[in-house]
């Protein structure tokens, strides 16, 4: 019986060789969390940034070397870089965005979509996004991405100690947030 790590190695190897099922397995397990991480970062075009992230990941898959944890760290690092790129592009095109503000608003989402979205997950993401930016990103990388402290520190360019402090403060703030209690009752 293989371990989870063995299983991941096999899936990754198959994805590298073009196995679509293996790729979808990676995508299914990580794409939702990648989207949530990008939304915590306040990325308004999270879907597009996530698509760009996967595009780069697929393109560079042959260069990646590591296990499941490293792959998560690698993917979320790409996602962070693409989010920064998107943010810079937004600033550059601010005038165009201002002009676009007069355009008709996007169609409201359908009720069915709201229900299927899983309200509690969206609210949970919103709660984390409400933290200070450094705390929010640390919580997102630790909890949503499932990365360990050392990997989060590497991605953010901080010390492990400062990551732990930010995590501690972020979770304490979340724990004290009265809105947190409401999350459990969303699905009544």
């Amino acid at each position: 019986m293989g371990t989870e790590a063995d299983d991941f190695d096999e899936v990754l190897s198959r994805a590298r060789s073009g196995d679509e099922t293996a790729f979808l397995r990676l995508w299914d397990s990580l794409h939702p969390r990648l989207l949530r991480y990008l939304r915590v970062l306040g990325c308004p075009e999270a879907d597009d940034v996530a698509s760009e992230t996967w595009l780069q990941a697929v393109r560079d898959l042959h260069r990646f070397d590591g296990g499941a944890d490293e792959f998560r760290g690698w993917l979320f690092t790409i996602g962070r870089h693409r989010a920064v790129d998107a943010s810079r592009a937004r600033i550059r095109s601010r005038s165009r965005l201002l002009a676009a503000a007069t355009a008709p608003a996007a169609a409201p989402r359908q009720v069915e979509d709201e229900v299927l979205d899983g309200l509690s997950t969206r609210q949970a993401v919103a709660l984390v996004a409400g933290l200070s930016p450094d705390q929010a990103e640390v919580v997102a990388l630790r909890v949503i991405a499932g990365l360990d402290t050392a990997e989060v520190a590497r991605i953010l360019g901080k010390s492990a100690g400062s990551v732990r402090v930010a995590l501690h403060r972020g979770l304490r703030a979340l724990s004290a947030d009265p809105r947190l209690r409401a999350l459990e009752e969303v699905d009544q």
Binding site: F23, H31, R36, L127, V143, T149
Partner: protein, 346 residues
């Protein structure tokens, strides 16, 4: 990760997190790490097209082709050069179905036909399927696996997607390659139970003359996904079944005058699941507190008995990865309703 809470997030160095027993944070973690929602997974077909394009085309060309947004499956189908295939209905059935929905206005046909009604006449006699039966085979990942050339059009539906815990789910499938029902084909029903890795075969059946198969899957005690598979690798879209464990609230007199004990019972839930007690006031349900179900799947709350009138209580069993949410009927607590040593009618 504790053994009795398999749905907690996988955090390799969890000890440096604060307040691990905080139920509010547990709930938050569950929500943040829950399985992907329908909208989060909506770009699956597009991602697959992107993967195909990236693998099949020269890298430089693929990069240029995907420099624009890939937020919609339509864009991916177009940019991957798949629009011709879409027009020709040559995409794998699930992808074709999505392409048709997105590009229907420009003429992409939909080959994904609706299945017949569940349990209709002519259904094949299946091998009985139960979620608890030993797996006869392990399927590491029965995700949509399109193949080149003709792909069987496989569909699977459930009569009800939300059923009582321990109840029966009726699943019906339809096999119609190219829209033509195919008889005499052995198909497998595979199941992924929440909290357990991988997929396993839950039953097999042979399609009847209309390409139909159906299964009564008995004793479903945990949330599960089902797919149909046929030899050659074609796989249907998943059907998600949510089980709803019943939860009841009973009233007994307390050990002291003026107090009463409310006992929540959820035999089909898991020990360690949380139940939330609510009180109704001015027409609104307010949260009073929560308890964890013990090994007998019970949890007790002590409440004050009002001197006059009565108060309505109910208990909620929030959803987990293993089951959907459930709510008890209301129980009224008042001086006239509580008699020491005797359980009052709910």
């Amino acid at each position: 990760m504790s053994a009795d809470r398999p749905d907690r997030p996988d955090l390799p160095d969890r000890p440096d997190l604060i307040e691990p027993a905080d139920p509010g944070l547990d709930g938050l973690f569950r929500a943040l790490t829950a399985d992907g929602t329908a909208s989060e997974l909506a770009g699956r077909a597009a991602a697959l097209e992107m993967f195909r394009a990236s693998r099949g085309a020269p890298r430089r060309r693929a990069r240029r082709g995907f420099a624009v947004s890939l937020s919609s499956a339509a864009a991916a189908v177009v940019l991957a050069g798949g629009i011709g295939a879409a027009y020709a209905a040559a995409l794998p059935a699930p992808v074709q179905h999505i392409a048709s929905r997105l590009l229907g206005s420009i003429g992409v046909p939909d080959t994904h036909r609706p299945p017949p009604s569940p349990g209709g006449p002519g259904s094949a006699t299946p091998v009985p399927a139960t979620p608890s039966a030993p797996a006869t085979a392990v399927c590491p990942c029965p995700a949509v696996r399109p193949t080149a050339g003709t792909v069987p059009d496989l569909d699977l539906v459930a009569a009800q997607t939300r059923i009582p815990a321990g109840g029966q789910a009726v699943l019906s499938g339809w096999l119609a390659p190219g829209g033509r029902p195919e008889a005499g084909v052995r198909v497998r029903l595979v199941e992924h139970t929440a909290g357990r890795p991988g997929w396993r075969v839950a039953g097999t059946a042979v399609t009847d003359g209309r390409g139909d198969v159906s299964w009564p899957v008995r004793d479903v005690t945990s949330n599960a996904s089902f797919r149909l598979m046929v030899a050659g690798g074609a796989v249907s879209s998943p059907v998600f079944i949510t089980v709803v464990p019943p939860v009841t609230l009973g009233l007994t007199a307390g050990q002291q005058p003026g107090v009463a004990t409310l006992t929540a019972r959820a035999p089909s839930a898991q020990a360690g699941d949380v139940v939330v007690l609510q009180e109704r006031a001015r027409g609104v349900w307010y949260r009073l507190g929560e308890r964890v179900l013990n090994q007998e799947h019970q949890a007790s709350f002590t409440v004050l008995v009002p001197a006059s009138g009565d108060v309505a209580y109910r208990v909620i069993l929030p959803r987990t990865a293993a089951h959907g949410s459930s709510v008890s009927g209301p129980v009224r607590v008042g001086a006239a309703r509580v008699t020491k040593g005797r359980r009052a009618p709910p």
